[in-house]
Symmetry: C2
Subunit: 224 residues, 2 copies
């Protein structure tokens, strides 16, 4: 059983590299056979189709991120962590995993769109749960600080945050852009300062008058 798991992990890592490099649609099982140094028949012992392989990569990646997040958010002596700490830990967990598993995260961010039917359904259930967790933390943070941000505003903020992080695969260069700690500081800094200031009605430190932030260029007063 341990040998089976080790082999499967080797296959998933190799396949993630191939998918990330060539794109899921273009990559063939023959490419994966070459990369893993396993025969096609040997590979079919672990999955039944290229789509199942894609699902397995996306699913195990998500499962790992989720487990690590649960550990990072665990209450200390029965007391839940403050919401700001929770959101910083979510960001750090996501970025830390991302930059040490870039192939898997590109597959998760981009190629997973190719999943269909039951695979797609199971994948989107994980994604929905992960997003919901982030939205919940933001709602708790808004409540704690007395900010009038409703579920819709927290949802949009959560999705803006995931966009900020998931776009990494397009530009991240470890020599230039620093490690997960530095990225977390920068992104959590931008996101949290922005989220909290937005919630206060756009009181930007050192900013132009609030009027310009609220109604300035485009004339539309905010909906709430």
């Amino acid at each position: 059983m341990a040998a089976y798991d080790t082999k499967l992990q080797h296959i998933l890592q190799s396949a993630a590299r191939i998918f990330a490099a060539h794109g899921y649609e273009k990559a063939s099982l023959r490419d994966i056979s070459r990369e893993t140094e396993m025969s096609l028949a040997g590979l079919y012992h672990y999955f039944r189709s290229k789509e199942e392989l894609l699902f397995l990569i996306a699913d195990t990646t998500f499962a790992t991120i989720w487990q690590r997040l649960e550990a990072a958010l665990a209450p200390v002596k029965g007391k839940p962590l403050p919401p700001e700490t929770q959101i910083r830990r979510l960001i750090h967990n996501h970025l830390d995993y991302y930059i040490s598993h870039r192939a898997e995260m590109k597959v998760l961010s981009v190629d997973s769109d190719a999943l269909t039917g039951e695979w797609s359904k199971r994948f989107h259930e994980r994604k929905r749960r992960y997003t919901a967790q982030c939205i919940e933390i933001l709602q708790a943070l808004a409540r704690e600080r007395g900010l009038p941000l409703d579920a819709a505003a927290c949802r949009l903020s959560a999705l803006a945050l995931f966009g900020m992080m998931n776009w990494l695969y397009q530009w991240y260069d470890p020599r230039r852009d620093g490690d997960a700690n530095l990225l977390t500081e920068r992104m959590a800094g931008i996101f949290l300062c922005g989220f909290l200031a937005e919630g206060k009605g756009g009181q930007m430190p050192n900013a132009e008058p609030v009027r310009s932030a609220r109604h300035g260029l485009f004339g539309t007063p905010r909906a709430e």
Copy 2:
């Protein structure tokens, strides 16, 4: 000539829909022939390969965004707009085009990765110029407000902003998430408040003590 251009535009719009729906690799010229109601021979009058078609969609989309941005940023009576206005207009221009051309923007954000050789080179030159414009505005904003943000910090912030916006294709629902004006207010609000507060060393409105924002969880003091 006008007829040629009209037809080409029709082809690019139809092909963008097909690429966005099925993915570039999976979509066939036969799908595009069906969608445009043109023969394959007729299509080849406008481009020589599926890759050239992908390039044409990405290139004309980028060219349009760029032209509209130049118009939005044009100096008034010879005086450049304030940097904060410029960055708000860049965000509005991007989001406004994005939500009215979602197929093209998905192709631009995702499928354009499939471009190779000279096509890829020309596409990345446009992308580089667009990103550089955003970084320049952020640097001007930082200078104006006396914020100690160097080119690397402005680059990371610009890429975080593009991530926030380009991820839209994954979740944007016009009935739920509002129009370009509302999205601009929200995203510009989060981004600008965060960028400016970060530049001040993380003075978050209504925040936990600065120490926790700077060194709190992960132990690494910031690099600068």
